[in-house]
């Protein structure tokens, strides 16, 4: 400083920061001065992640989404989203000289002429299938463990929207190659839109640019498939991840784990290596799958013509339950005053989002019933929430029954069953199976709760048989260590809501709203005597282990 002033030159203002030790630190200092990276990294570099295999399900969703975007960009370089007609003259000779659309023609070119094009197409489609499947399983993991509770309800909704949009973007992508199967899917969509009362024909004509199929639908679907829906999904995904970071991850109950901490290993280096490596594992497996298992061989189906169809026309599996709804619904039509109300198609069309929304709304319903306003970070074991677990299982069973309805033709041909019988079964089963599954699951959970209680109070079976002096044989039970005892008794049990007395202390009748009564009734159903086994108390444990009349 002083030397600078004596030499008469302008001195650079002093920095309070220590000199960087090496070039990497210097580069980091440079970036920090512009982007503030140190403050960002301070909270996140050693951020703690708890470990459990089921936490990777969400990672699979993220990675397949990235793979879909990477391969999707590649495909757009070769795909021509046009319904202009050309005569096919590529290397797939069975279709030589056939009139096809540009979309179909370019799909065949990607599959047969572009080197590696078929592989990328297959990776794109396989990744999409795995993406939806992983979202589904991830969502079920979150549901059954109660990870959707405060503060995570909004993230549950973001996740649900991602699943919902994933369904539709998958359907749109399936429709783009303009092959016989995809065209049939679009025709189904036209029929469904026409069933909408009042405005159905207008929506259909505006969507198709006139009468079905027209020449606009593929380019329009293309823009929606590659730009609109993925754009929204990307935004939701980023918001979803920001919230996961902000809330910090949930964890299972266990020694040292509380609602106020998160126990695990740091992001750098363990999770960078594990999660980063897992991206490559997922990508590698999908690439290998795409090399050996063909999905959507559009050349075998041929180009779309509205007067042709193949048997067992099927959508991808995730649309299968919608297909089931449409197949098993009786053909109800109401004709009056010169109008037709096509209930046979319209009711399934309305039920499709309802089946999905039923699960989306659950966190808010459960919260209303429990009235619990606290944050929850410790996960529930599914057995310790029997009604919730039963509802989730019932929902999955409904989904599966409808999926069976959507594949009734395949089930009929593969298992030599009557197609009509399967349809009748699904019609009845949609109502009966979920109810049966609910009660079975609930009983099962209660049985497991009893087993936990037994283990806590009487210890675990050792397999050692002891003969008592009077000749009786017994199996020796070993007491569980304290960490196990703690883990098995860490869950909370709600008490059912009690209504206030019918009359107050002055003998005046109290007004209890219908909503409160409903809430009390559901609360009794969820947390009453029939729905949870009281967990063992320390006193019970002490009494049994003290040796008075017990083994």
């Amino acid at each position: 400083m002083s030397s600078a002033s004596t030499s008469g030159k302008q001195a650079p203002p002093a920095s309070t920061r220590a000199k960087p030790a090496n070039k990497a630190e210097a580069a980091a200092d440079y970036l920090d001065g512009r982007l503030g990276i140190y403050s960002l990294a301070k909270a996140n570099l050693r951020k703690i992640f708890p470990d459990h295999w089921s936490f990777m399900l969400g990672e699979i969703c993220l990675y397949t989404f990235i793979i879909i975007i990477l391969t999707g960009v590649y495909l757009t370089l070769f795909f021509k989203p046009s319904m202009g007609e050309v005569i096919y003259s590529g290397s797939y000779t069975p279709l030589d000289g056939i009139r096809v659309s540009e979309a179909y023609n370019s799909t065949l070119n990607i599959s047969f002429e572009v080197r590696g094009g078929l592989l990328i197409r297959q990776i794109h489609h396989w990744a999409a299938i795995v993406f939806v499947a992983a979202m589904f399983v991830h969502m079920m993991r979150v549901f059954f463990t109660g990870a959707f509770r405060k503060p995570r309800e909004i993230n549950w909704v973001f996740g649900f929207l991602l699943l919902f949009l994933g369904f539709f973007d998958g359907f749109l992508g399936y429709s783009l190659p303009d092959d016989l199967l995809s065209g049939t899917g679009i025709r189904f969509m036209e029929g469904a839109i026409l069933a909408v009362p009042l405005v159905g024909t207008y929506i259909s004509f505006f969507l198709f640019g006139g009468q079905f199929p027209g020449t606009d639908i593929v380019p329009r679907f293309f823009t929606i498939h590659v730009l609109l829906i993925p754009g929204i999904m990307l935004g939701l995904l980023v918001a979803h991840l920001i919230l996961v970071f902000y809330h910090k991850h949930t964890q299972w109950a266990g020694p040292g784990k509380t609602e106020k901490n998160v126990v695990g290993m740091p992001l750098m280096p363990v999770y960078m290596a594990k999660a980063g490596g897992f991206f490559f594992l997922v990508f590698g497996i999908i690439a290998a799958m795409s090399a050996i298992a063909s999905v959507n061989p559009v050349w075998a189906y041929g180009p779309y013509r509205p007067d042709q169809v193949s048997t067992d026309a099927q959508p991808d599996w995730y649309m299968g339950f919608a297909e089931g709804l449409i197949r098993v619904m009786p053909g109800w039509e109401i004709r009056a005053w010169g109008h037709t109300l096509n209930l046979g198609v319209f009711i399934p069309l309305m039920l499709f989002p309802l089946v999905l929304f039923a699960i989306a709304a659950y966190p808010f319903i459960e919260n209303w019933i429990t009235g619990d306003k606290r944050e929850h970070h410790i996960l529930d074991r599914p057995r310790n929430a029997p009604v919730r677990t039963g509802l989730g299982a019932a929902w999955i069973s409904l989904y599966l029954v409808l999926l069976a309805g959507g594949g009734n033709d395949l089930i009929a041909t593969h298992f030599h069953l009557s197609l009509n019988d399967i349809t009748y079964f699904v019609r009845v089963g949609s109502f009966v199976v979920p109810v049966v599954v609910f009660f079975v699951t609930k009983r099962w959970c209660l049985g497991l709760q009893r087993r936990d209680k037994e283990k806590v109070l009487h210890g675990r079976e050792t397999g050692v048989i002891k003969r008592l002096p009077h000749g009786e044989f017994i199996e020796v039970h070993a007491q569980l260590p304290q960490d196990k005892l703690h883990t098995l008794t860490a869950h909370e049990q709600y008490e059912p809501l009690e209504l206030p007395a019918e009359v107050d202390e002055n003998g005046v009748a109290r007004k209890v709203s219908l909503a409160t009564k409903t809430r009390a009734a559901i609360s009794e159903g969820m947390f009453g005597e029939g729905s949870q086994i009281p967990k063992p108390t320390a006193d019970e444990h002490k009494e049994i282990t003290s040796g008075h009349g017990h083994h």
């Binding site: 703690i48 290397s91 590696g116 078929l118 049939t184 026409l194 069933a195 405005v199 207008y202 259909s204 004509f205 505006f206 006139g210 009468q211 079905f212 027209g214 910090k248 020694p255 040292g256 609602e259 998160v262 126990v263 290993m265 280096p269 363990v270 290596a273 980063g276 490596g277 991206f279 490559f280 497996i285 290998a288 799958m289 090399a291 050996i292 013509r305 509205p306 169809v309 193949s310 067992d312 026309a313 449409i326 197949r327 619904m329 053909g331 109008h339 037709t340 096509n342 198609v345 009235g371 606290r374 009734n408 197609l419 349809t423 806590v456 304290q482 008794t489 909370e492 609360s523 320390a538």
Partner: protein, 358 residues
């Protein structure tokens, strides 16, 4: 629900209680269990070599990917058990890419699991909710801002702003109008519309592209047909026509021949000619073409959603989700003996819609 109904444990939290009198108390974080690689330098060295080997395999696989790309003919088909005949290029590219990616992942995960620290650390959580002081401060600031805007005071501005915001999206909706033409009566008519008793339209066999005589159609057979020459279409409906897809989506016919005494519906028999009946091929459910015909029972089944129609009984729906019978086309023969239509279907073809009167 009142707070006293909530479980007590949560509020207290499972602290690290060293309570001798409570066997269920949280004993705190367990001690770290060492791995072999933590204490045995030879095991650590071995793990290091394994990780490196995986990365080397990945490099080799990427080189294999590039080599396959430049050297394998895209048309080459090879037999690989148990896959059968597959494209050699697709298989080679997919497997090398798969191995190249998988080994990077496997190497990284193996490294993390064997050599990086696996000591668990607790990190504190902080409540998402702000404390009361911050909350009060923010609400105060908001009130100040809202007061300065006069939003609550100047009701006329507020109401007109809400009105304008509510209306402006209509501009976007209106702009969608030119996505397509209005439906008008287009769904009520098909290409057979032009046929009249004076100027009938011939039924053209979909496969041979020729007219058909009743004697060409065997009892129990199923034939597909499209419209022949008309005033507007002198060549008949051709695949090269610009609107072929739109036209065939409604005009496609299926012809069957049933012994006249087996036809249960007298009206349907009257629309046919000597037992030859012409039905719309488009399912009345959601519009798939119907193509599965059982000649013994005269049932036709849509392969998409299994609506089943009894073609001997006016194409009545006997199973499945379709809501009404298939429309039938009135046919007869012209002076040369060819099958012709003399008018359009009596009802609109295809899936039903709101404006459909019958």
């Amino acid at each position: 629900m009142s707070d006293d109904k909530l479980p007590a444990e949560h509020a207290e939290g499972h602290g690290e209680v060293a309570a001798a009198d409570n066997p269920f108390a949280d004993p705190g974080l367990p001690a770290h269990q060492v791995r072999r690689t933590d204490i045995d330098e030879r095991a650590a060295k071995r793990a290091e070599r394994q990780v490196s080997l995986l990365f080397v395999v990945s490099m080799l696989a990427t080189i294999g990917f590039i080599a396959s790309y430049v050297s394998i003919d895209p048309d080459k088909i090879v037999y690989i058990f148990p896959l059968g005949h597959v494209s050699a290029l697709n298989f080679a590219l997919g497997m090398t890419l798969g191995v190249a990616l998988f080994c990077i992942g496997a190497g990284a995960v193996h490294w993390a699991r064997t050599l990086m620290s696996d000591v668990e650390h607790p990190a504190e959580r902080h409540a998402i909710e702000a404390d009361d002081e911050v909350r009060a401060d923010v609400i105060e600031q908001f009130k100040t801002g809202a007061g300065e805007s006069g939003f609550g005071r100047r009701k006329m501005i507020r109401n007109t702003m809400i009105g304008s915001m509510a209306l402006v999206p209509l501009a976007g909706v209106v702009l969608l109008r030119d996505l397509g033409p209005l439906p008008e009566k287009k769904l009520d008519h098909t290409g057979w519309d032009e046929a009249t008793p004076a100027v009938p339209i011939r039924l053209i066999n979909m496969n041979t592209n020729e007219g058909m005589k009743p004697e060409d159609i065997a009892v129990g057979s199923l034939t597909f047909a499209k419209p022949g020459p008309s005033v507007l279409r002198p060549e008949g409906l051709q695949e090269s026509d610009d609107d072929f897809q739109e036209a065939i989506a409604k005009d496609a016919l299926m012809l069957i021949r049933i012994q006249p005494e087996d036809i249960k519906d007298a009206n349907s028999a009257g629309l046919g000619f000597q037992g030859v009946l012409a039905y719309s091929k488009i399912c009345t459910h959601v519009g798939c073409p119907i193509s599965l015909y059982e000649q013994q029972t005269h049932h036709a089944l849509c392969p998409c959603h299994q609506s089943t129609f009894d073609l001997s009984d006016g194409a009545r729906v006997i199973f499945g989700p379709a809501g009404h019978p298939l429309p039938q086309l009135k046919i007869t023969t012209d002076s040369l003996g060819y099958l012709v239509a003399t008018g359009d279907f009596s009802h609109p073809v295809g899936p039903s819609f709101w404006e459909r009167s019958e």
